[in-house]
């Protein structure tokens, strides 16, 4: 098995006395798409910035493509031509035009991609005379994505590549990432959109308060079991219902008025729930059967964080 593209061990990143990353451990395998997910402030951006040498680690270690990052920040020279980065904050020259900037960045690499093709693939008109400052947020986002990829990196970090993008923009980014993966490029991305994760990620790392709280494939995280959920009055008295369900079967109120039954989607259980609803005058319109959504799982794993 080849060395992981990224290996982060017990990483701690501090801003003054506050720890943005507080003992994070994860690996991103070569050739795979790894998604870092978690609420705002979980430490995703600080982790990415430390991996690419823009921030120094207070403790722990970061290995990129088998090379240990210097503790004081900065990137080993050999890595710079092999690692592409799309930062969340800034990164563009406001007075430049997209194509000239992409061409300049391409000129710094030995074997760059065609800047024109890349911009077009991301839906940016390569011939535009508009300066970057006058582009919309979503268009700037696409330009940043192109700059991260123009050097044909072996490993690319994309910090919220789809933030602020419309449907076609997200689709373009998805296609591009799928293409990178097919070409053997390792991708580490952060996102708040579970659609991105479900479509793209081979491996998901759930981060909360600067720590990894869970990891695995989307299927691992969501689980195989079907579940039943229904809507009802807040704080409903469910004793009648629990009494007719098989032993050990519990009902939890996931959020006010939303109940989840810890049982497989058995028709007998469904009919018991339907009967209870009929007796208590509860409409069954919110009744769902199926897997839990990734969003629910991540929300539950990261619950309690501000």
């Amino acid at each position: 098995m080849p060395a992981p593209a990224v290996r982060v061990r017990d990483l701690v990143v501090r801003y003054g006395s506050r720890s943005a990353v507080a003992g994070l451990t994860f690996e991103a395998q070569a050739g795979e798409v790894t998604a870092l997910v978690g609420p705002n402030g979980a430490g995703k951006t600080s982790t990415v910035e430390t991996c690419v040498g823009l921030r120094s680690a207070a403790s722990g270690s970061v290995e990129i493509l088998g090379i240990r990052q210097p503790a004081e920040g900065g990137v080993a020279g050999a890595l710079r031509s092999n690692v592409g980065v799309m930062l969340q904050d800034g990164g563009l020259y406001p007075t430049a035009r997209p194509l000239e900037l992409a061409r300049h960045i391409a000129s710094l690499y030995a074997d760059p991609d065609d800047p024109e093709r890349l911009l077009a693939a991301l839906g940016v008109d390569p011939g535009t005379r508009t300066t970057i400052r006058r582009l919309s947020g979503g268009e700037q986002q696409r330009v940043k994505c192109a700059l991260a990829l123009v050097g044909r990196p072996r490993l690319v970090f994309l910090d919220e590549p789809t933030a602020g993008l419309d449907t076609s923009g997200r689709r373009a980014v998805h296609d591009l990432i799928a293409g990178l993966r097919a070409g053997g490029t390792s991708v580490v991305l952060t996102t708040h959109l579970m659609d991105d994760v479900e479509r793209l990620a081979d491996h998901v790392v759930v981060i909360s308060r600067g720590r990894d709280v869970s990891r695995g494939s989307v299927a691992d995280l969501v689980g195989d079991d079907d579940t039943i959920a229904f809507s009802g009055p807040v704080n409903a008295d469910l004793r009648d219902l629990v009494a007719v369900l098989p032993d050990g079967c519990r009902i939890e109120e996931d959020r006010p008025g939303r109940y989840r039954v810890s049982a497989a989607a058995d028709p007998m259980i469904l009919s018991a729930i339907a009967a209870w609803c009929a007796q208590h005058g509860v409409r069954t319109s919110g009744l769902t059967v199926g897997r839990r959504s990734l969003e629910d799982v991540v929300l539950e794993l990261t619950e309690g964080q501000e």
Binding site: V52, G53, L54, V75, G77, A78, R80, S81, V83, G84, V85, L87, D89, G90, G91, L92, Y93, P94, T95, A96, E100, H104, I105, S107, L108, Y109, A110, D111, K144, L147, G151
Partner: protein, 247 residues
């Protein structure tokens, strides 16, 4: 394994910097119109006739060359770099194969290119005003090179150390201090006592003194002035290499 040499990355960055500089309207004003206008003003009006003597053009030329080097290599470079840091453009560059030294080298080279263009405009204007170079005028190019390098080093040191807004304020403030206390416009001899003795030690004073020797007196510049400029360059380069940050 990398097919792009450090030299070609520096050259590429220098072309990029020059391209952005020369596109900026304010920058063109500072680089060409103000120096040429200043030369015309100082030379054609009797504003400075007491200090500059009967033939005002040579002294005006030495003054304007000094001012335009300081303005391009120190003030403009510091401010532009400060704002690039704020926009995050430099943070991103920090993740590409371009190293910090290569970025600083590219910026210094681009500034030198702009100084060459602006000095050429000023020199041609001086010739049009009747100035005729003497053999000592061959000192002008090396002096401009040394002055540009020294001021660029300090401009980058400033941009690397402070926030963009602070860079804007400090760079403009220091520009005035350097011009006034360096005896650039008003000759050092006419400054009040202690200031007059300070002037030759400032980089602006040393550059003005050296250019005045070459342009006005038709003589080789004093070795002390060159040594002072060299010392400012060495210290400035060391400071900027230490303080310059990508973000």
């Amino acid at each position: 394994m990398s097919g792009v040499s450090a030299g070609s990355r520096v050259a590429s960055q220098a072309r990029w910097e020059a391209r952005l500089l020369l596109r900026n309207g304010e920058q063109l004003l500072l680089t060409f119109l103000i120096p040429v206008g200043l030369l015309l003003g100082l030379s054609l009006t009797s504003l400075m006739s007491d200090a500059y003597g009967d033939d005002r053009t040579p002294q005006a030329l030495a003054t304007v060359l000094t001012v335009s080097v300081i303005s391009a290599a120190f003030t403009s470079l510091a401010i532009a770099t400060g704002f690039e840091r704020r926009s995050g453009a430099l943070r991103f560059l920090g993740t590409t194969p371009l190293s910090r030294a290569e970025l600083l080298g590219g910026k210094a080279l681009a500034t030198l290119g702009v100084t060459v263009l602006s000095s050429a405009a000023v020199l041609l204007t001086a010739v049009a005003l009747g100035w005729r170079p003497t053999p000592a005028a061959t000192w002008i190019a090396p002096l401009l090179l040394l002055g540009t390098a020294a001021f660029a080093a300090w401009g980058l040191a400033l941009a690397g150390a402070l926030r963009a807004e602070a860079v804007l304020a400090v760079a403009n403030g220091l520009f005035l201090v350097l011009i006034l206390f360096g005896g650039v416009i008003v000759p050092a001899a006419s400054l009040p006592g202690p200031l007059a003795s300070l002037a030759p030690w400032l980089p602006s004073g040393a550059l003005a003194e050296a250019l005045t020797a070459a342009v006005v007196d038709g003589a080789a510049p004093p070795a002390t002035a060159i040594a002072v400029l060299g010392a400012w360059l060495a210290v400035g380069a060391a400071v900027s290499a230490r303080t310059f940050r990508w973000s």
